[in-house]
């Protein structure tokens, strides 16, 4: 009798529980799981526009033989290998500096550094484009200061175009990451830092061996989100190069390539889906690696 009753109660809670989560589950299923599975299926098809036929692993073979895909992949990897560490270190240093209680106007500085990341991606890209034009304000300033003889053609030189993209995304996202560090820093126990200071540990030592290890989980989080963000880099390069990924495909990213395959070139939705799965695999792999690198050692 008691058994049956508790079984009934359990059942009651089960049914109700599932009813409560059912709407959310249905929406997730409809708008997340179904598109993911459908795009996986799509990646086995190939063709022009709606004239699709089953291609099996044909898209993977094409991927392997496609130099533009490899170019886009290597560009994307260059972007995140160079940009993510620069940005993380910058954000950490700035956060640490702004956390100094003796700093005056820290609110103003915080706002100023955070402000770029509330600006629209497209708006700031267009601004950067005009600032870094051959006769733009950046070149003119550098030349007036005597730092260079010839203007740099930021957007037409393969090397400088990459540098420009890195500068742009660093400017946009450093403040965003800094906010996470600032929040984490304010949660740290000040007494640890004070104890180290009394023991005579210099400030760089406290930063390197105390602050950073204590921020490990936040650093991991920002590294993963930044990596994913850079892997999906699209708006900036699209706006800076008017969708071409130029010069010479030097700023072509995987996302921009997917866009071109779908919208600029003869639409091949199947092949574009295959390329997008490369991003999925990369994000999964890199996230796993980063988790593995900072795992708790027992």
């Amino acid at each position: 009798m008691a058994m049956a009753k508790s079984g009934g109660l359990k059942r009651y809670y089960n049914v109700n529980g599932w009813l409560f989560v059912a709407p959310a589950l249905a929406l997730i299923g409809l708008f997340m799981i179904y598109p993911i599975l459908n795009s996986l299926m799509l990646s086995a098809y190939s063709g022009r526009g709606m004239m699709m036929r089953f291609a099996g692993f044909g898209n993977l073979v094409r991927l392997y033989n496609d130099p533009i895909f490899w170019k886009a992949l290597s560009n994307t990897i260059v972007f995140f290998i160079i940009q993510v560490p620069i940005m993380i270190v910058l954000a950490l240093l700035i956060a640490n500096a702004l956390n100094n209680p003796r700093l005056r106007f820290s609110g103003l500085f915080r706002t100023a550094i955070f402000l770029p990341c509330v600006s629209s991606l497209v708006a700031y890209s267009i601004l950067f484009k005009s600032m870094f034009a051959v006769d733009g304000v950046v070149n003119r300033t550098f030349m007036a200061l005597g730092l260079m003889e010839q203007p740099i053609s930021w957007l037409t030189d393969p090397f400088w175009a990459k540098v420009l993209v890195i500068i742009a995304i660093t400017w946009r996202w450093t403040g965003y990451n800094m906010i996470f560090y600032l929040a984490a820093l304010q949660n740290l126990d000040r007494s640890v830092d004070e104890a180290a200071r009394i023991d005579g540990v210099p400030s760089w030592g406290r930063f390197l061996f105390l602050t950073i290890p204590m921020l490990k989980s936040v650093i991991l989080f920002t590294t993963i989100t930044s990596t994913i963000g850079t892997l999906q880099l699209f708006d900036e390069v699209y706006s800076l190069t008017e969708g071409t990924g130029g010069p010479s495909n030097e700023t072509l990213t995987l996302s921009l390539y997917i866009y071109n395959l779908t919208f600029r070139f003869m639409p091949n939705f199947g092949y574009a889906a295959t390329v997008s799965y490369v991003i999925v695999v990369l994000v999964a792999l890199l996230s796993f690696l980063q988790f593995y690198a900072v795992r708790e050692r027992k």
């Binding site: 709606m50 005009s130 037409t156 071409t244 010479s248 919208f263």
Partner: protein, 422 residues
């Protein structure tokens, strides 16, 4: 700046839409149209709509202004998803992409062969929209090219307008060097990440990336080789002010930084918008390639209107396009005068506006010149992979201007193109 103009145009379009809807009687047909460029296509379509409404007061128009890339993206997404409700009734498509859409989304566009008399249009425009003997769409503007130059700069350097007639690209470069020596201005501007210049010169040499059957024709293509060589020489000679993107490109010649530009006739409106430069401009035929079959005329861009097959207002939309764009000669005079739009309806060219001299261009009869050149534009097959080839060309442009041999560049373009077009 761009954002602001975009917003104000959007707002204006929205207000215009509201205004039209409010004025319409109940149960009226509303034709929705997607196009780009508020000063050109949008304005012209608004004019066309007003003309049609005079005789058909029950029909109203909702003209939606997007960026060109956005029109293409939205169109492609909606076509792929198969939802007709997301689509407009009429959409503007650039000629280079027409075959791509017609072939990859069969049945999406309404054939109009039995309703429109296509014999009156420039043949190359009709060919672009023909698939398996059926013609889809209404031919609209032509992108016949010209050499727009600053009369005052060239005079300062000692050149008269007739010195620009029938010149080769080598001569153009020589003139450019002289102009810079005398005036300190670069001869022209170019965005090397944009394939437009290659396309202009190549088509003037009576060739395209593809042959008449649509097969890839990059290797052994004398016109393409000539186009690449000419551009490499121009950059090497230092007569080009490099541009980064479209706005920068336009700014170079509207601000008076460069002495000339080779581009499509549709730029006239933009140039004439600089009212303080009136009388300082001239138009000449574009320089010629030094190969057999080459002419001093070419084409850049140009687009046409297409009716969606699933549109509820399909018949009204076709009737509207037919009434205005295939029959109303006065309409063509008006859009030429006001917007600099050279239509592709041959009969329109006998109208008054085409005979007029333009004081902005120093009193030259520019429109007659453009319509003469239009008749000389070599008809080529744009194929379905022009964007892919454009990408292959611009990807190799840095190597070309960096000094790599033209034949090696062509080989690299060919290799990339072969992998891209499948």
């Amino acid at each position: 700046m761009d954002y602001v103009t975009w917003r104000s145009h959007g707002l204006r379009a929205a207000l215009a839409g509201v205004g039209l809807m409010a004025a319409a009687p109940a149960f009226a047909a509303e034709i929705t149209i997607w196009c780009w460029d508020p000063n050109f296509n949008v304005a012209i379509m608004r004019e066309a709509g007003e003309r049609y409404t005079k005789t058909h007061p029950d029909v109203t128009f909702n003209i939606v202004d997007f960026a060109k890339a956005d029109v293409e993206q939205k169109l492609q997404t909606a076509l792929a998803s198969g939802t007709a409700s997301a689509l407009p009734d009429i959409v503007l498509i650039e000629d280079y992409g027409a075959q791509k859409y017609l072939q990859s989304f069969p049945g999406a566009f309404a054939p109009m062969s039995d309703k429109v008399d296509y014999s009156g249009f420039a043949p190359y425009k009709v060919e672009v929209m023909t698939v398996d003997g059926k013609v889809y769409g209404m031919p609209f503007d032509s992108g016949v090219t010209g050499l727009f130059y600053r009369r005052d700069y060239l005079e300062q350097a000692g050149f008269k307008p007739q010195d620009l007639q029938n010149i080769t690209w080598d001569r153009y470069i020589e003139i450019g060097k002289a102009v810079e020596a005398k005036t300190g201005k670069k001869m022209t501007t170019q965005d090397l990440n944009n394939g437009g210049m290659t396309r202009i010169i190549m088509q003037s040499g009576n060739a395209w990336y593809f042959d008449k059957d649509g097969e890839l024709a990059v290797e052994g293509n004398a016109a393409l080789k000539g186009a690449l060589e000419a551009q490499a020489k121009m950059v090497k000679a230092g007569i080009v002010k490099p541009a980064t993107g479209w706005n920068d490109y336009v700014k170079a010649f509207t601000s008076g930084d460069v002495a000339s530009v080779v581009t499509g006739v549709w730029i006239t409106g933009t140039i004439k918008a600089q009212t303080d430069q009136s009388g300082k401009w001239g138009v000449a035929p574009i320089p010629k390639l030094d190969i057999p079959g080459a002419v001093s005329a070419s084409n850049l861009g140009g687009s046409s209107w297409y009716v969606l097959a699933k549109s509820k207002q399909k018949d009204a939309a076709i009737d509207f396009l037919n009434a205005i764009y295939a029959k109303d000669l006065d309409f063509y005079q008006k859009i030429l005068t006001e917007r600099g739009a050279v239509g592709s309806l041959m009969a329109a060219r006998t109208g008054d506006a085409y005979q007029k001299a333009d004081p902005f261009f120093g009193g030259e009869k520019v429109w007659q010149q453009f319509s003469d050149w239009l008749g000389k534009v070599p008809a080529v097959n744009y194929g379905i992979f022009t964007n892919e080839l454009d990408n292959a060309v611009t990807a190799n442009m840095a190597d070309l201007t960096g000094g790599k041999a033209v034949d090696d560049v062509i080989k690299a373009i060919d290799e990339q193109a072969k992998l891209q077009i499948q």
